[in-house]
Amino acid sequence: MDSHDRRKFLKQGAAVTAGMLAAGAGSAMAQEPGEPRPASADGLSLQPPRETSPPGDTSGELPEEFQAFSRTQPSYGGPVGEETYLGKLVPGLRDAGAAPVPFEAPDLDKIPWKMVNGRKEYHIYCEHVRRELLPNHWMDFFGYNGSMPGPTIEAHQGDKVRFVVHNRLPEPTTIHWHGLELPNEMDGVPFVTQDPIMPGKTFIYEFDLHQAGTFFYHAHFPMQEAFGMAGFFIIHPAVAWDPPVDRDFGLMFQNFRIEWAQTVPDSMAMDFNWHTINGRSGPYTTPLVCKLGERVRIRILNFSPQQHHPIHFHGHTFWITGHEGARIPADAWIPRNNELIGVAQASDLEFIAFNPGDWVLHCHMVHHMMNHMVRQVGPRIRKDIDVGAYKASIENRPRVDFVHDDQGFAVPGYPQKMQGMEMSHEAMQKLNSRREVRGMRKMWHMGVHGLMTVVRVLPDDLYDQVMNSDEKMEPGYVFNELVARRKNQRQEQQE
């Protein structure tokens, strides 16, 4: 795309966005008294209507440039407390009052249901599953319906549900419906509220859903929980929460201890070396792809055995709009860029995806940002010899002279960046053949490990090229294109 085309795109994008914004504003803001808010001259911004600062705001008269909120570029939308502040109540591009957008948990399926005698009936199979945490790293777990974590149960407020649980494990189990206000005998606690479901047996849970929010289901035998037996249980509200979102993603964070050359986790361990989001470790986690300007919700569940996760998102400030089990009233929403989520807790993050690019979202515990936890000694930090030389000469190990010409070793602690992490061609193919990573920078996977994933915010045309087109796309195309457009935009503004 040359500079003329880019200008054209930017103008078209602005016009389209303004149109969508007007539609969104006309619907969502219609719930507010008074006129819909006018868009700014560039068609991108929402101007707050208040002439005075909201109570508690002592910032005084905020410069105009910080009062505008744009859904297509980073902006403030102040003053603090204003509805546009950090995009707090800026709606998505969907109409308010529309049915909730379907929930999407990358790399996980949903459990199908059918209506039987007035209830949505789901069949859940508790069984041994194998899961590919990283390319060619298959591990053994207990899970549900062939998946670890289990596939998502998606239901709506007011649904009457029935879960037919088939135990295909060689040991007893139960399922607990975490956070649901249901009859005691349906709570799934072995011995306390029911007899365990014995191997080969079936148990039926039936209850009605009057709540709405982020829930989950899991076995109620602790070591089975540590062995992967959990899944999302999303209950959409009868009417979509306001402001409406365009994307509703879910990420389940888990930790496991799997010793070297083993495939079976140690469910008794209290020190962990495998970290997964929806059953995959970064960079095998599939990116969340959304369009520039959309309002996005990401529900993050920490189902780790004992470690918390401070979840950090780059390039945006999100609002905490819900926790496990309930939506939070808007007055109590908190803006953050790092949300601490404890064990068996969930947080719903919402933001306007106004900053185009590939943004990582990750747990900020450093041990959770790497895979396998391997120390940096041995051939990986040597230049003259690699592991292959040892394997080729088992009886007579290669000579190692320990002479480094790398001046870095004069600095205590060097190296801290992981050295010698090489990935096979086959693994690279698996990582980069996924549609969701098209056009990302060539070595992007070297910066995404453990509990890390990527949120891709793409303008409409690039979104279509990535998600809907099969045209060949060179690595780095999207990144370079966005950088070029930004540069072009700056030049235009200067002119």
């Binding site: 070297w260 050359a261 895979n371 396998h372 391997v374 120390r375 000694v377 041995g378 051939p379 990986r380 592991v387 292959g388 040892y390 394997k391 088992i394 190990r397 992490m421």
Partner: protein, 120 residues
């Protein structure tokens, strides 16, 4: 009569020594076979698996070195077993001839009352 008794005693001593040596031979042979067929291959395999795991970023290098050290120590033990086995074999084939000629036993056993110069 005494000479015949001495011959008989020597036969019994040789028979006992042969039995002991043969036991040592069998033990050494079993060690050699176990090390050759099971212990060394498995130790080598453990080392190889660890090298693979290291290459796969799943194990620390010191753990690999420990496995290599264990493999080398077992190889040394295997050499000692081989030596013991060959020594036993040579002794048995060579009529238990070992070291120099042994002086003949004194006609009076060490515990006999006549074995000391001063009667008690």
């Amino acid at each position: 009569m005494r000479q015949q008794g001495e011959i008989r005693r020597t036969e019994l001593v040789l028979r006992r020594k042969l039995a002991q040596q043969y036991r040592q031979y069998l033990t050494a042979l079993q060690h050699v076979q176990n090390y050759r067929d099971i212990i060394l291959p498995e130790s080598r395999q453990a080392y190889e698996v660890l090298l693979d795991s290291y290459e796969d970023d799943r194990v620390q290098w010191p753990t690999v070195l420990e496995a290599e050290r264990a493999y080398k120590l077992l190889q040394i033990a295997h050499l000692q077993n081989l030596i013991a086995w060959r020594e036993s074999e040579v002794l048995i084939v060579g009529y238990l001839l070992h070291g120099g000629l042994a002086p003949p036993m004194a006609p009076t056993p060490p515990s006999h009352i006549d074995a000391v110069s001063q009667p008690r």
